[in-house]
Amino acid sequence: MTINFRDETFRDDFTFRNSPEAIKRFPFPFHEDSYMYSVNMEPHKSYRPGSVYERTFDVDEHYVSEMKDRAKVLAEDPLRCQSLPHMTLAGWDLLELIMVSKAEEYPDLFELHRDGNKWHWINKPLGIDQKFVFLDEATLPYGPMEYITRQTQGDFAVLDQRDDNLWMDAGMVTTQADWSLDFDIGMNFFEWHAPVPKAHEMGIFVRALKFLLNVRQGAPARRLNWTMTVNPLLDTSPENYHKWGVMKQDLTMENMGEKMHLRVELQTFFRLPRSNALVFPIRCYLIKLGELVTEPKWGRRLHRVLRDLPEELATYKGFISNRPKIVEWLSKYDDGKPTSPGIWPD
């Protein structure tokens, strides 16, 4: 398997785009023509070769450029990566999980050689060759969580489990849908979800927490979440809202296909072995509406979902003011024909 890593940007001139192959494997999140919250969890098992579900940590054509973007975000704002002192062991757990999975699943891109605690990690796409001692922080240039998540696509929330709750006690968050690690650090599951409308009344979070507390070693889980983003911005953080919030006003019927993106998060959950912590990787996939409608089923369905979405959800997801324009643009791609069940293209 060869991946042609694209040289592209997620800021300034926004050269990001998806190849035709990347469009085909995009994780379209709507299995029917409408959307409401649910605890839509399923086992994170390898599924559908070539899809984003095939491997534990998906690596795609955007990998190298996404890692460059992360380094820029961190250089400007180091607080995007934080780990409370008791979470270092969980960081080593995460480093092991990622290195072992990537070396096994992408042997042509990553290698891990282990001799007891003497480890040798080779990351070919990023040109990294690192010898270090497992569990000895002094032998890495960063803490273990920061070291490995500077080399892995997606945000990472590392959650301590105690008192029948989960606590946001560590994370690497640079590609987020408008939430802040620096604000949420140390909060519990109910506290950091407090801004979400409707779901509390529906009892979603009580059920979701119960499920997550029981995620077992060797049995990871996953779900999809989504929002809409103007321009292919990975970093839509509250910290930088003054930079990207105004971009929402630049949207026109003419530039809709190029500027408007469906943003999908593949969220996975793994129990970590030594720390008993839970790691919550949140992997962001972006697709231009112009790319999305090349799959007729997706064009039809996205039009219906956005048209019928409850107002609070469109407000919370941050696209209420642009919704009429988006729906009007998408309506050209909805001929009213029925859509097939499931998320995959026809």
Partner: protein
């Protein structure tokens, strides 16, 4: 079977009598691979094919969490029990192939603690052995107070005392040695977390004393696996699967549901984790709640039952399963 459970096929590689009541078992993967790393305090659920009966009992892992060659557990023989421990003692020999669950930790160390203060009674020592190995490897600060009936029944007391002479304190019941709990708790530095594993009375005593001295609830941790109690047989209707099942005298409700071929979730099988919580659709009779998951109000409501340890006496019971 529990949702998302990944099980491990193992072979018994060693069976060692520790004293007249306790025997230690070592499990290695049958396929020769490595065991998953685990965290100190975790348990595994061991599946026992006892004739026509399938028994599933949780046992704390006591091996070094970093040692991936094998897991070890210690089982105390309970002659009055339902038969799981007797099966382990009588039927499990080296070479036997068995199935165990991936590790699950319901008694983890709180890694924020400045000091870990451990109180063990009897076979309750086993999770602490793994936690101490984990802490010793990372220069963790711990102190163990271990109460035993007699020196001859003091499982692993000598090994622990030899390895950590200043951190381990043994108390013998037959010599009238008792943990001076109030003084012990009074002298602890700020940031100490307290852990207790042992008989019900001991857990109650330690929790009550700590609470009386003003210890924060979040700094006190316990683990008690309840064995499912025996009782009068009873009949249950499973509404979703449309089956009527009989729960035997020495069988738990969960075991009877499983024996009928109905898939029911579980983790600890000891009334602690909440995973098997089941809705009651209708009943005429009396619940015998034995779990420590549901609240008193839920016990009184007649709307919930934990089938791993709780029973029923009466005419009809209909469950949403």
């Amino acid at each position: 079977m529990s949702a998302g459970t990944d099980k491990i096929a193992v072979t018994v590689t060693n069976v060692v009598p520790v004293n007249e009541l306790v025997t230690r078992f070592r499990f290695a993967r049958t396929d020769g691979g490595l065991m998953p790393t685990f965290s100190g305090g975790a348990h595994t659920v061991v599946e026992m094919k006892d004739g026509a009966t399938m028994r599933l009992n949780p046992y704390s892992l006591m091996s070094d969490p970093a040692d991936r060659t094998a897991y070890t557990i210690s089982v105390r023989r309970d002659d009055q029990g339902r038969g799981g421990s007797l099966f382990m003692h009588r039927n499990v020999k080296p070479g036997l192939e068995m199935v165990i669950s991936n590790p699950v930790n319901l008694f983890p160390l709180d890694l924020r603690a400045k000091k870990h203060l451990m109180i063990a009674g009897g076979i309750g020592i086993t999770p602490f052995i793994a936690q101490i190995k984990q802490l010793a490897a990372s220069n963790g600060n711990f102190e163990l107070h271990y109460s035993v009936r007699t020196a001859s029944l003091a499982s692993y007391a000598d090994e622990l005392s030899t390895a950590h002479p200043t951190r381990v304190h043994i108390y013998h019941d037959d010599k009238k040695q008792v943990i001076d709990l109030e003084n012990l708790l009074d002298g602890q530095p700020l940031g100490t977390h307290l852990y207790v594993c042992g008989p019900k009375g001991m857990i109650k005593w330690v929790r009550g004393t700590a609470e009386g001295l003003g210890w924060p609830r979040e700094a006190v941790h316990d683990e008690e696996f309840l064995a499912p109690p025996s009782g009068k047989p009873f009949e249950v209707k499973l509404a979703v699967s449309n089956k009527v099942i009989q729960v035997g005298e020495h069988q738990s409700l969960l075991e009877a549901i499983e024996a009928a071929g109905v898939d029911a979730p579980y983790l600890c099988r000891g009334g602690a984790c909440g995973q098997c919580e089941t809705d009651v659709i209708g009943y005429d009779g009396k619940f015998l709640h034995n779990d420590h998951w549901l609240t008193e109000e839920q016990h009184a409501s007649g709307k919930k039952i934990m089938p791993c340890v709780s029973r029923f006496e009466g005419k009809t019971l209909v469950l949403d399963r």
